[in-house]
Amino acid sequence: MMSDHQHLRPQAPEIPLRSEGDPSADAVDYLVHHLTSYRYAKPVSRNYGRAHVEPRATPHQRVLSHEVVVDPVPTRLTAHTDFYGNSSTYLLVDGPHSQLDVHSHARVTVSERRYPAEAMSRPWEQCGPDHWGPLLPAESIDFVHPSPRIPDQGEAHEISARVFTPERPIGECLADLTGWIHANFTYDSRATTVTSTLEEVLAERHGVCQDFAHVGVAAVRAAGLAARYVSGYLRTAPSSEGALVTEPADEMIGSAASHAWLSVLVPGIGWVDIDPTNRTFVDQRFVTTAWGRDYADVPPLKGIVVGPPGATSTLDVAVGVVPVAPGTP
């Protein structure tokens, strides 16, 4: 059982509210690069991959261009729109090869997100499926229930009960949840792998951004609201404009790799994205690629390699999300 004094007092992020007379929302253009490189000690014979790396169009994001380049030349490279509307890329390299590079390039425009104060002050109890009205698709119900990687957990209910107190405005709940996870979990890139379960993360209080997103989703769903897992990128250091960035930026965690956060359905607004890892509401620094019930629906890149038994490989990942002036090439 948890009790108050065991936990840090969370410092909640500020809710980005829309006020009368705001100037039109700022928009930022980004060049996005995501390069994944495997080097194999012995040549492998076939490589299959599934990627969710193409940024998707949202009310706050326009995709100007996108391309995935695979080296060696793939025997098959296809993309389809998946169950959740994301672009899902399949690749097959058939034939001996010693390295695999999957390079995703995109150019996107991301606009500011500000939310109406009256919707954000709606009590959270009025944000569940019964209050969605006819405009929200019934499929949103998919994000209310437990999912393969986010099973129903007792501990998530405790976090939920702490955050979603009676009649509390939804905006406050989301800010508090973001701050609470940030304060009570330690970011540790060695603490977890994709095979860490939610139960382990909740017990260890360690994790990476995908784990924090899972914790947040679990807590929101425990309150009976819809929450989805979002995969994407963060803006990298502006100093390295135009070039691939491989060093982490100082101020934000997850900027040198792909990133993950969560999104909550708020009637009257739509989906509101929060990032517990960086204790912030999602803003123009975030590029969205895909969403689903949890990580398993939208891993950025996964695959299966067929090769000599016991072959080893090394992995390098480089991500760059660099602001560029609108209209420049």
Binding site: T78, V208, K302, I304
Partner: protein, 776 residues
């Protein structure tokens, strides 16, 4: 009767059929077809636009939470007019005459093959009954299905290849049987996941041993494995291993899955309950067949109808029992048809019995052309002479198209398909089955010969009281244990105690759960034939079935000497050898069978010679033992032709080791093994295959019978050998010779060769590992 395993419990079969008249059938089949049309429309929507989830008639929450809803499988096209290929529905009739549906099997619909077998068996038991009743036949149904499947899979004027995908070794022999029958009816080879590989633009079969060389293209997979476990890339890790990239191959239209991925979602209970509303909404019709009330039974007031049945208590009078009917709906060219028959299961407290389902033809119904066939049941024994082996007594999965050859001309659609017939498939698992078919055929043959001779000579020796007879008896019984590796066996028994000898013999004959027993080797032999329909002669099926019958004799009465049953089995092996040699094409499949047979025979011979001649004994005992070995190895006649002397160990050994003209000699096996290995693909540069055989041939070539059988120095007769790997009881005694060590080494090389062959041809040489980004 149904399963290869001679000890598998046989289901209780009630010969009294469930009879449906044409009117009943029309109502029921129309309802089933409507139901499957509805399920098909639901599949198309749930794995397509998903508009139904936004309506208030579909249980959206229950569907979205169902693990059978495979999110990765949306947007996969269908080649035919429908998505669903087959659905098996279980229905029951209420006392008021209405039908209710108890459940639908949509992910893996089954039961059609079993229905045919039940019909065949019962029509054989009561031919006159089946002849005198005008009932709908089952085979024409599959002609229609096959034609539809051919048209659906055909691409660019090329015949489409449909394969049936099953687990390599289904746990349930009845299910395995059902699956192989279905494959047979569809005219499609049975493959397992390891036989398939996705590539660029096609799904191909994997040939034995050749990684780089893709085999035949597969156009449709009739999937008898749960769809959630078929693609480790898109559907997650699976105990079956799966076929990486299969979901994408289906999405790109390389291959069609039948039933499609994720069809199990249609088994969702909440969806079943919503079908009446969905039917109105989607088909604009009223649902004809209602789902059963949530609680089935007498208490709900929905009394089940009762059907005439045999008395489960064994009484002579017929009784009435409630039954569940399993009926299969399959896609035809532009819609669905219901198999006019099936299997009914009794549904009460008494043990379950299976019943045939008869659909009668109205009196006025005129038989169509081809009416010279039996009206009514599948052809009865003695009347199917034009149809080849598959209709004769005891046929296991045979060639269905042969069964219906008489009706084929009436089926106009068949004409252009003839020229598109595909070649038989060859895959790793089929190659492996051929290799093991050869090995088990040889093992059954040699075990039966060994046991027959030992039984014969035991009878003779048992009547004598001499020491040499006692020794020979002990040695031969011990050899049975050694050769079949069924330790401790006779080594722990008193060879003079007839009761314990008899019980051990009986176990070795009929205990199919005991590795090395004749029954187990036979069951394994029958098992290997399940995928070999296209590759070995139709003549083998009745033989295999008759051999199964011999086991019932071996297990049963004392009226018939066991030797007679064993002779039947030896005869069966001879017939199988002949059928295979006379009809199998001389290709890779034949070579793999040959390699299996020669390897097994060499190992069996070496181990027999080691166990019988490896120790020196008195001249009198040796004469008896060598005489028995000559009988077992069928070399008595050659011996008499070659040597004008009584059977002596050294001379017999000379013959069995080195006479290259004698088909049961070791030299003969090794010559054949060598030339067959040369023909296997990519063997020449494979030292792991070449080296064991070269070592073996030079070792055995250097064996001198005189040297080999000289007692090892420093050991006196009666002492126990230090080199023998098998325990040697005092009763067998004798002075050990270098034969023991030499034979062990040779057998070791053969095992090494067998393993190398399997690794090279049937097992994946590459490993598969998952990769992905761990941290984000």
């Amino acid at each position: 009767m149904f399963a290869a395993d001679v000890s598998a419990p046989t289901p209780v079969i009630d010969p009294v059929p469930v009879v449906l008249d044409a009117e009943d059938w029309d109502t029921l089949s129309a309802g089933l077809i409507q139901r499957v049309r509805l399920l098909d429309a639901l599949y198309a929507d749930l794995y397509g636009p998903r508009t139904v989830l936004g309506t208030d008639v579909a249980p959206a929450a229950e569907l979205l939470q169902d693990p059978a809803y495979l999110r990765s499988a949306i947007g996969i096209p269908s080649r035919g007019a429908t998505h669903l290929f087959a659905v098996t529905s279980t229905v029951a009739r209420q006392a008021d005459g209405s039908w209710v549906v108890l459940e639908d099997s949509v992910d893996v619909p089954d039961g059609a093959g079993f229905a045919l077998e039940l019909r065949r068996v019962l029509s054989r038991c009561a031919p006159s009954l089946y002849r005198s009743t005008e009932l709908r036949r089952l085979h024409p149904f599959f002609d229609t299905v096959r034609t539809a499947l051919h048209r659906r899979t055909r691409t660019d004027g090329r015949a489409g290849r449909t394969v049936v995908l099953t687990a390599g070794d289904p746990d349930d022999p009845l299910r395995a049987f059902d699956q192989s029958w279905l494959a047979n009816l569809l005219g499609s080879p049975v493959v397992s996941v390891g036989d398939l590989q996705t590539g660029s633009g096609s799904l191909t079969l994997r040939l034995p041993g050749v990684d780089s060389d893709p085999g035949d293209t597969v156009d449709a997979l009739v999937r008898l494995l749960p769809s959630a476990q078929l693609d480790p890339l898109d559907l997650g890790p699976t105990p079956y291993g799966g076929v990486t990239g299969l979901v994408e191959a289906a999405r790109c239209g390389d291959v069609e899955m039948l039933n499609p991925f994720g069809a199990g979602l249609l088994e969702n209970p909440a969806l079943r309950a919503a079908l009446p509303d969905l039917c109105r909404q989607i088909l604009h019709e009223d649902l004809q067949l209602r789902p059963a009330a949530p609680t089935v039974g007498a208490s709900t007031g929905a009394e089940p109808a009762r059907w005439l049945s045999s008395d489960p208590a064994g009484g002579d009078d017929l009784v009435e029992r409630p039954v569940r009917l399993r009926l299969m709906v399959i896609a035809s060219e532009d819609g669905y048809e219901v198999l006019p028959g099936g299997v009914a299961h009794t549904d009460d407290e008494a043990p379950e019995a299976l019943k045939d389902i008869w659909v009668t033809v109205p009196e006025t119904f005129a038989l169509p052309e081809g009416a010279d066939e039996e009206p009514g049941g599948e052809r009865s024994p003695g009347t199917g002479s034009t149809s080849g082996g598959a209709t004769s007594e005891g046929s296991a999965p045979g060639r269905a198209d042969a069964v219906d050859s008489g009706a084929a001309p009436a089926n106009g659609a068949g004409v252009d398909l003839g020229v598109l017939t595909a070649y038989p498939a060859m895959t790793r698992s089929i190659g492996s089955d051929l290799f093991w078919f050869g090995r088990y055929l040889e093992r059954v043959d040699s075990t039966a010969r060994l046991l027959r001779t030992v039984l014969d000579t035991s009878n003779d020796l048992g009547s004598e009281r001499s020491a040499s007879a006692g020794t020979a008896q002990a040695v031969l019984l011990g050899a049975v244990t050694d050769v079949t590796t069924t330790y401790p066996g006779f080594l722990d028994l008193d060879p003079q105690d007839p009761e314990s000898v008899r019980s051990e013999i009986s176990s070795l004959l009929t205990d199919s759960g005991r590795p090395g027993s004749l029954a187990q080797s036979y069951a394994s032999l029958a098992h290997t034939t399940r995928t070999l329909r296209d590759l070995i002669s139709d003549d083998v099926w009745p033989v295999i079935a008759r051999m199964r019958g011999s086991f019932h004799l071996l297990a049963g009465s004392d009226n018939r000497p066991l030797e007679q049953g064993l002779t039947d089995i030896v005869d069966g092996c001879l017939t199988l050898s002949g059928a295979v040699a006379d009809s199998m094409p001389r290709n890779l499949g034949w070579d793999l069978t040959e390699v299996g047979r020669k390897l097994e025979r060499t190992m069996g011979l070496l181990s027999l010679l080691r166990a019988t001649l490896g120790h020196r004994r008195t001249r009198a005992a040796e004469a008896r033992i060598a005489g028995a070995v000559a009988l077992i190895t069928e070399s008595g006649a050659s011996y008499r032709r070659t040597f004008h002397a009584a059977v002596q160990p050294e001379l017999l050994l000379e013959l069995l080791l080195h006479d290259t003209t004698l088909p049961r000699s070791i030299a003969f096996q090794l010559d054949r093994l060598n030339s067959t290995l040369d023909r296997l693909p990519e063997v020449t540069p494979s030292p792991e295959l070449r080296a064991p055989l070269t070592a073996l041939r030079s070792r055995i070539g250097s064996w001198e019978p005189q040297e080999l059988l000289r007692p090892a120095s420093g050991t006196a007769p009666g002492s126990t050998s230090a080199v023998a790997s098998a325990p040697t009881p005092a009763a067998r005694g004798g002075a050990p010779t270098s034969m023991l060590e030499e034979a062990d080494a040779a057998i070791g090389s053969l095992r090494e060769l067998a393993t190398a062959l399997e690794n090279r041809f049937f097992r994946p040489s590459e490993s598969t590992s998952r990769w992905g980004i761990d941290d984000v």
